[in-house]
Symmetry: C2
Subunit: 331 residues, 2 copies
Amino acid sequence: MKRPGLGGGAEFDLIRSFLGDAADDFPATRFAQVGPGDDCAILRGGIALSVDMSMEGVHFLREWLEPEEIGYRAAAAALSDLAAVAAEPIGVLAALAAREDDTDTAVRVMAGVRALVGSLSATLLGGDFTRSAGPLVIDVVAVGAVTRPVLRSGAVPGDGIWVTGSLGGAAAAVQEWRAGRVPEPSARDAFARPRPRTAEAAWLAHRGVARALIDLSDGLAGDIGHVAAASRVGVIIDAVTVPVHAAARGIAPDDRAALRLALAGGEDYELCMSAPAGAVEALAADFAEQFGVRLTRVGEVVEGSGVRLRDANGDVGDMPFSGHDHLRGSG
Amino acid sequence: MKRPGLGGGAEFDLIRSFLGDAADDFPATRFAQVGPGDDCAILRGGIALSVDMSMEGVHFLREWLEPEEIGYRAAAAALSDLAAVAAEPIGVLAALAAREDDTDTAVRVMAGVRALVGSLSATLLGGDFTRSAGPLVIDVVAVGAVTRPVLRSGAVPGDGIWVTGSLGGAAAAVQEWRAGRVPEPSARDAFARPRPRTAEAAWLAHRGVARALIDLSDGLAGDIGHVAAASRVGVIIDAVTVPVHAAARGIAPDDRAALRLALAGGEDYELCMSAPAGAVEALAADFAEQFGVRLTRVGEVVEGSGVRLRDANGDVGDMPFSGHDHLRGSG
């Protein structure tokens, strides 16, 4: 789900061209209140919708994952878009393409979808099955309900930027697999079984602390750029505060390489929010107790535009990491 | 969207296994009123949702279609599922996978999606873009609104079975392409630019004549089996009444081959409904005048189960055509 408030880069120029006029001027309709450009489309009445495609060879390799994990992960990625607007999960529709001689895999992939969906008390609402001419493809439509969505566009100078959990674990797993090694269990799990932060997002939204919200699918360095663009503000990320996943630290040759995994590795499916100064500090302990997940302040919103990085010496420069540099190429 | 009321065949057994428990006992939730098994999932509040995947090499070949037509057709197939429950189109989400060196095609495919959606006064609500590891894949989520959905399960013995338009045109185009020939324009158009019958379905539903409704994506022979199964009735199709597309007649060596294209060719995206005796006859002229499309009575609902065919001699036997026998293998 993309639109005018997109960050820079050729990929997002492409998405703008997909949208045609809708990129510049999404027509308010009697049915839709939020169109392309946030993590979900939101219909009047508060139904939130997002679609997420996962393709073998692009988003995952079969050698890495069990079929159930392929489905679980695809569904988690789609439902993470609901978390990104603070919507409650209703269910999913899943479209699957698999080779005709591979229906056992297809059945196991769908079992993984059902497992993730069931764990969130949501429902498999329907789907589509197709013979594939090649790769396994799974497309998951996330359907949620939201009364007061938190969009990308609400960040205000002076806000703090916060993230849930730790970053770079999934990217660490991918890097290990690519090097022919077996990732450590916590990294593998971060990639194979990400947990959509829907309950966490609802909790934060209910307390009114999140002014802007997004989920981290492409990496903080790129994703926070969408918040900056949609909110017409700048963002400074503090390198030393980024909660780098222990597995990313473990495999990285130095701090900068670890930071790259955390900021540009992608696939974290953690939440990132902008919140007024002081608002989150008062709730962070309750949040950690409730969810077993920490909230970390990783930067601040400033006047201007774009995303910059403050290094360990306090010097602020251009964000050196962009987009994300591994398997996944999705927007 | 499939479920308990599915017709027979290995493909539908597979879909049942995808659904797990939901296949037998879709849990009524506080959000969903219709789950897997009809043409759309329908949320409480009347939002209808369906997802439809189109893959290069399975649903189309690039040699056959312009990129805009690939997008137009994919969106039409998805929106046809809205027609199948008499829902009004709100918009679509589209997920596209294309090779990195082929973004021009991707942009043109999306222009086709926008053209179809715009022609129905609907909106492109959002989407996802991914690099493809191989084939072009487009997945379209249709979003509609419906107050009183017409499902597959309402057919009653004594009803007539009616279809809109003519059948077999798209299949005739595919057969010509496969034989290395150029299909005639009306056949090519039936395949490349099907028109979802959303307005026609709303008109019929508004007048209360449709007891059961489905769209014809896999061919009448197979699709009407889903109505029979969901309604726990039998159906007899009258061979001589089937409105075979002129292009199908034109290329078929005999009447039986033409009938096969019309009943098992698929991709027609016409409506098929069950209606009380006499109800449609009174409206058919108005309908034809309003939409420039005829309604044809092609059979009847009887006690029992399954689908049979009445031949030109009046003899009733097993339906000799099943599923559908060309490019598309989707459910």
